[in-house]
Amino acid sequence: MSDPRPLSPHLQIYRWQLTSVLSILHRATGIALVVGAIMLVSWFGSAADGAAPFAAFQGFLGSPVGLIVLFGCSVAFFYHLCNGVRHLWWDTGRGLELKSVYASGYAVLVATVALTVIVWGVGLSRWGH
């Protein structure tokens, strides 16, 4: 990295704004979903391994640590899903005006919270029974 070519300003130079924060969050949640992929495969994998391994994994999912990991994965997933749909919409060449970008950005945040609350509400109410 001794190349004397000019560098673009580093991230901390810029003022925080919704557009850049959501963009960074898309990548961050994508990386976090490595854990989600491992959980998904482990869930099926432990079931295939036998009744005892699956019971152990289900037990882990219901433990405090398991629930925190599951919650984190679900929030990351719902965000990445909603913002991913936003990206697909942009790919059609629509919604790229500044106003639309902000509107869809806020919509993604609202949808993420709504999906998380609904799914965890249903999940926790079912868990009690």
Binding site: F44, G45, A47, Q58
Partner: protein
């Protein structure tokens, strides 16, 4: 000065890059396209899986086997695992390309990541098939 301007390449490529034949390896479109294809596939698959998983809270292995005995559920589960991990491999590749400097490290990490993803897909698909064909 006008002559100099005219002699410069009209393309977004330096004259040196042009001589060395550097540039697109023509593989970018495949990456872009597969990222979108797996994303679109995952929208319905993920909604299906979320609803199904809510019904399997605290389930035992027998419930999983009964679930996977439905051939449509088994096919959806396999498609979800393949699409999710394919999408993951494409995304992680871009992250590695952006943040890892030095060709050896970059290439090495991409190879390790890809192989790990293949193992993960293999484990997941085999698990679904095991459950789908397991005795109930």
């Amino acid at each position: 000065m006008a002559t100099t301007t005219r002699m410069q390449s009209p393309r977004m490529q330096s004259p040196l890059g042009r001589v060395l034949g550097l540039g697109s390896a023509k593989e970018g479109l495949q990456h872009w396209w597969m990222q979108r294809l797996t994303a679109i596939a995952m929208v319905p698959l993920a909604i299906w899986f979320t609803i199904a998983a809510l019904g399997l809270i605290g389930a035992d292995r027998a419930a999983m086997v009964a679930w996977m005995h439905n051939w449509a559920a088994a096919v959806f589960a396999i498609l979800l695992i393949v699409a999710a991990i394919y999408h993951l491999a494409l995304g992680l590749q871009v992250v590695i390309e952006d943040y890892v400097h030095g060709e050896a490290w970059k290439l090495g990490l991409i190879i390790v990541m890809r192989l790990w993803c293949i193992v993960l897909v293999g484990r997941g698909v085999l698990a679904v098939l095991t459950l789908a064909f397991a005795a109930s």
